[in-house]
């Protein structure tokens, strides 16, 4: 790869500005690509060009040190930001862009003094058309493999379940309870919910919940009772078997 010193600096500058803009205002793949450049490529390349020009003219060396130095500068940046500005998106962009531009500038000045033109000592030959087609197909198949695995996770057969909860209401802990049911049984179900205080029934009702849906209610309770409030949940297809149960002692009962 042959690159003029000025052109190299301008490309570095342009990529930094575009990445900063994409991170600040963009979204999706563009923002991800910009973040990748900012974290894993630009700072390391700039530092390499500024201080270790002997390691930049070999493709394998260049890729290695660009990745590892970028990661290192980001990691050390985290430490610096922790003790100074705090770790946030804005401070990350500031740190990484400043590193890239400052070291890119130093590389430019040093290169200009020595009138350097950058060319690889052990260049990689480019791929020909046929090779590009084969590699393109390989990349597509690899993505296909990932897609198969992702689909496998989503469609894995799993036993369903129902969640039941019973809590003191945070706003009025002595007089109200919060009760909820979440149906994760892969099918809509009819439940029977029985609430009682000791042996004294409070409510007994049927609740129909679609698969993946939640039902929730707040019930007034007398704090006078010395018994915990108990919720028993039945499935209508198994009416004699308590499917889930929860119990709560109100504040002051114990």
């Amino acid at each position: 790869m042959q690159l003029d010193n000025t052109r190299r600096f301008l490309i570095l500058l342009l990529l930094t500005v575009l990445s900063t803009a994409a991170i600040s205002f963009g979204g999706g793949i563009l923002r991800t690509a910009a973040a990748l450049l900012m974290i894993f490529a630009l700072p390391g390349y700039a530092v390499l060009a500024a201080w270790f020009p002997d390691r930049i003219d070999n493709p394998a060396n260049r890729v290695l040190f660009t990745i590892i130095l970028s990661a290192t500068l980001t990691g050390l940046g985290g430490l610096v930001l922790h003790f100074t500005l705090g770790i946030q998106s804005v401070t990350w962009v500031l740190w990484l862009a400043a590193l890239t531009i400052i070291h890119g500038g130093i590389a430019f000045v040093r290169g200009a003094r020595r009138r350097l033109t950058f060319s690889d000592t052990d260049p990689f030959e480019p791929l020909n058309g046929k090779q590009i087609v084969v590699i393109g197909a390989a990349v597509l198949i690899a993505f296909g493999a990932i897609n198969i695995a992702r689909t496998g996770v989503i469609e894995q057969p799993r036993p369903g379940f129902t969640q039941l909860w019973l809590l003191q209401d945070a706003a009025d802990p002595e007089n109200r309870v919060r009760i909820g049911i979440h149906n994760q049984e892969n099918a809509h179900l009819v439940y029977r919910l029985v609430l009682s205080a000791g042996s004294v029934p409070i409510t007994d009702e049927e609740v129909i919940i679609e698969a993946g849906q939640t039902w929730e209610s707040w019930l007034p309770i007398s704090a006078d009772t010395m018994q915990p409030i108990r919720a028993d949940l039945y499935r209508l297809d198994q009416p004699n078997h308590v499917y889930r149960s929860a119990e709560v002692w109100l504040t002051g009962q114990q």
């Binding site: 991170i23 979204g27 923002r31 991800t32 910009a34 973040a35 990748l36 894993f40 201080w51 270790f52 390691r55 394998a60 890729v63 290695l64 990745i67 590892i68 130095l69 990661a71 500068l73 980001t74 990691g75 050390l76 985290g78 705090g86 770790i87 990350w92 030959e125 020909n128 058309g129 090779q131 084969v134 590699i135 390989a138 597509l140 198949i141 690899a142 296909g144 493999a145 990932i146 198969i148 695995a149 496998g152 996770v153 894995q156 799993r158 379940f161 129902t162 969640q163 039941l164 909860w165 809590l167 994760q184 499917y243 889930r244 149960s245 929860a246 119990e247 709560v248 002692w249 114990q254």
Partner: protein
């Protein structure tokens, strides 16, 4: 010797068509079989993905598919890298491809979220950094993790800037770092041997270490620290005696970042550089040669131990007990008071398939047979002051010139010395606590083992063996080491995803537990003090944002409370000391013995119950505990608010 064609596209006498044909031929030679092996690797990954899907449906053939996929990745690459026809460019590309393909095997295991035990520990730390905007926030599920936040900073920065979730950002981060790792391995070995062939073969053999496919691909600090440390070693290997300051300027930030990423890797890296310096001194090399190595050793030791003592204060509490018990068990084996850990068996009594046991042992034998040959060649080469690779690889003139500066390489001899530790570490595999030391040392020892094996293999190749036989023999030998490594590093039940198993790390992470943790996140006060078993502790910490009580962070084993048949004063006292608000019961624990050997935490009291699963009666006692509220029930999982139950006693 590989021939390099000189392109002449600017030759005015050459027609455009001819020039294009020449360029295409050069490109075909330079990249060799790389595009086609890329294609076969991708097809192999599809097979691995199908194995995962089959395993999720409890298909018994899934492991066979996994092994076919793994071998389809490894074998063609191994055969090609042995060939002298492959050019340097192709070798580098193949090594990177191999590393990334094997990384994707782990990604295909859990492509949507982190599911490995250690991944949750670091996920919590990364989430804390993103939430609070500062480092070193306590993490009770692995207190030492916030003290080594390198991976979490990097992933957190990427997640913050890209808008991706932590698992998505982590997967991409580790993929990129894997590219750097493979390059660093290849370049290090190539530099030390001055042979692209040795460089590539050694990097290939490195992937046969028992932790390469899964352990060092997971979202854990070592997965980042290893590439960093390997790059440091490469930077040291390429040092130029005229520009020592430049070496320090490059190595120092890398050493600092390695030290703030992973304690053990930083210590071992310092040890390697130190050994390198000692060898250089013993060799009576010029002071210019060894002084920079000594300075680097001092810097590296100071930084890594300095970071551990100033920041990672709990590191020794975390590491030393493992070493202490391992050594004690080895001594007990010698004094015949301990029979040793049964090999190829899990804690629940299950055993690995017979062929896996043979392959595991065969891999050890294959390594031990070739190691002395490689060591002999390296040591003899230094003794004779002759280039290491003269007889075993054809080198271009330029490489030979480079080699003349590093003949009798201190690094190569250092590697030869280190491999002596390999048989010692194998002994640790016979102990319960030392097994982890042996297993965890694999990725470090293989820095040296892979190199010495590659030298040994190529020395054998220089004998008059029919080429085809040599290639077949090498490929078979390397495949046995690779398969044996994968077998000894990761138990059969954890190599593929699948149905729920009791206390089996990634195999115990399933929707009901995750949903319970998400419920806790929505309904309970953040960072409430909660106790749970090993798996639900991870999930409640990460998905539930609860402050989990652990022995590592609190010095209390609440496992005793779970195991007790009834609540007594001892249990109440423990709960009081732990100041526990919620206790989680997973009734599935009573279904079977724990596959990882523990239900709650390493060292848990009452854990050894004579091969009996967790007693269901011990769980029922919570229902009759006066004052305890069962606030959540999802069938397998129940959460009890226990604060009032012990507060008034």
């Amino acid at each position: 010797m590989a021939q390099t064609l000189t392109p002449s596209p600017t030759n005015p006498l050459m027609s455009d068509d001819h020039a294009s044909a020449v360029r295409s031929r050069i490109s075909t030679q330079a990249w060799g079989l790389f595009p086609y092996l890329f294609l076969t690797n991708s097809i192999a990954l599809v097979i691995v993905a199908i194995a995962g899907v089959a395993s999720r449906s409890a298909d018994q053939n899934a492991p066979i598919l996994l092994w076919i996929g793994l071998l389809a990745i490894f074998v063609p690459t191994a055969a090609r890298l042995l060939s002298i026809k492959a050019e340097r460019q192709e070798r580098i590309a193949l090594i990177v491809l191999l590393g990334v393909s094997l990384y994707l095997v782990k990604v295909l295991h859990s492509p949507l979220d982190f599911t490995f035990h250690d991944e949750f520990l670091h996920w919590r730390t990364a989430a804390n950094i993103l939430r609070d905007g500062v480092l070193f926030t306590p993490n009770s599920i692995l207190p030492v993790s916030p003290s080594y936040p390198g991976l979490e900073i990097l992933t957190g920065a990427f997640a913050e800037l890209s808008g991706l979730s932590i698992p998505e950002a982590g997967l991409i981060t580790l993929g990129i770092v894997r590219v750097g790792f493979m390059l660093a391995l290849y370049l290090l070995y190539e530099q030390v041997s001055s042979s692209p062939q040795i460089g590539a073969l050694a990097a290939l053999l490195y992937t046969a270490n028992s932790n390469f496919i899964f352990f060092d691909s997971q979202f854990s600090y070592e997965s980042l620290a290893l590439p960093l440390a390997t790059t440091v070693l490469y930077a040291v290997a390429t040092r130029d005696e005229r520009h020592n300051l430049r070496l320090f300027a490059l190595a120092l930030p890398l050493i600092i970042f390695t030290s703030m990423t992973h304690h053990l890797t930083a210590y071992v890296m310092s040890g390697f550089i130190g050994l390198w310096a000692v060898v250089a001194i013993v060799q009576r090399r010029s002071a210019k040669n060894w002084i920079p190595l000594v300075v680097l050793t001092v810097l590296s030791v100071s930084i890594s131990f300095g970071w551990s003592s100033l920041v990672g204060g709990t590191t020794s509490d975390y590491l030393l007990p493992v070493f202490r018990s391992g050594i004690a068990e080895i001594l007990s084996i010698f004094s015949r008071t301990y029979a040793g850990r049964p090999l190829f068996e899990n804690a629940a009594g299950g055993a690995s398939p017979i062929w896996e046991r043979y392959a595991g042992v065969a891999a050890v034998v294959c390594i031990l047979v070739i190691l002395p040959i490689g060591m002999f060649q390296v040591i003899r080469s230094a003794w004779l002051r002759r280039p290491l690779a003269t007889r075993i690889a054809v080198l271009p003139t330029q490489t030979m010139e480079i080699f003349s500066r590093y003949r009798g390489s201190a690094a190569a001899i250092g590697f030869a010395v280190i491999v002596i530790l390999h048989p010692v570490m194998q002994a640790f595999r016979l102990t319960s606590s030392g097994w982890e030391i042996a297993n965890r040392s694999s990725e470090f020892l293989f820095w040296a083992i892979a190199f010495i094996l590659a030298v040994g293999v190529l020395l054998i190749g220089s004998l008059k063996i029919p080429h085809r036989l040599y290639v077949i023999g090498f490929t078979l030998w390397a495949s046995i080491i690779f398969v044996g490594g994968a077998i000894s590093g990761w138990p059969p039940w954890s190599r593929l995803p699948g149905t729920y198993l009791v206390s089996a790390d990634s195999r115990s992470v399933e929707p009901e537990s995750i949903a319970a943790a998400r419920w806790a996140n929505d309904f309970l006060t953040p960072q409430s003090r909660m106790s749970a078993d090993r798996i639900n502790t991870l999930l409640m910490s990460v998905y539930g944002n609860q402050r989990m009580i652990t022995h590592l962070a609190d010095g209390i084993y609440l496992a005793s409370v779970y195991y007790a048949p009834v609540f007594g004063e001892t249990e109440f006292e423990l709960m009081r000391r732990a100041n526990v608000e919620y206790m989680l019961l997973d009734r599935r624990l009573s279904m079977n013995l724990p596959l990882v050997g523990i239900y709650f935490e390493a060292g848990e009291p009452d854990g050894d119950r004579g091969g009996e699963p967790f007693p269901i009666g011990a769980m029922d006692k919570f229902d009759s505990l006066f004052g305890a509220s069962r606030i959540f029930d999802s069938g397998s999982i129940q959460i009890y608010d226990v604060e009032a139950a012990y507060a008034t006693r």
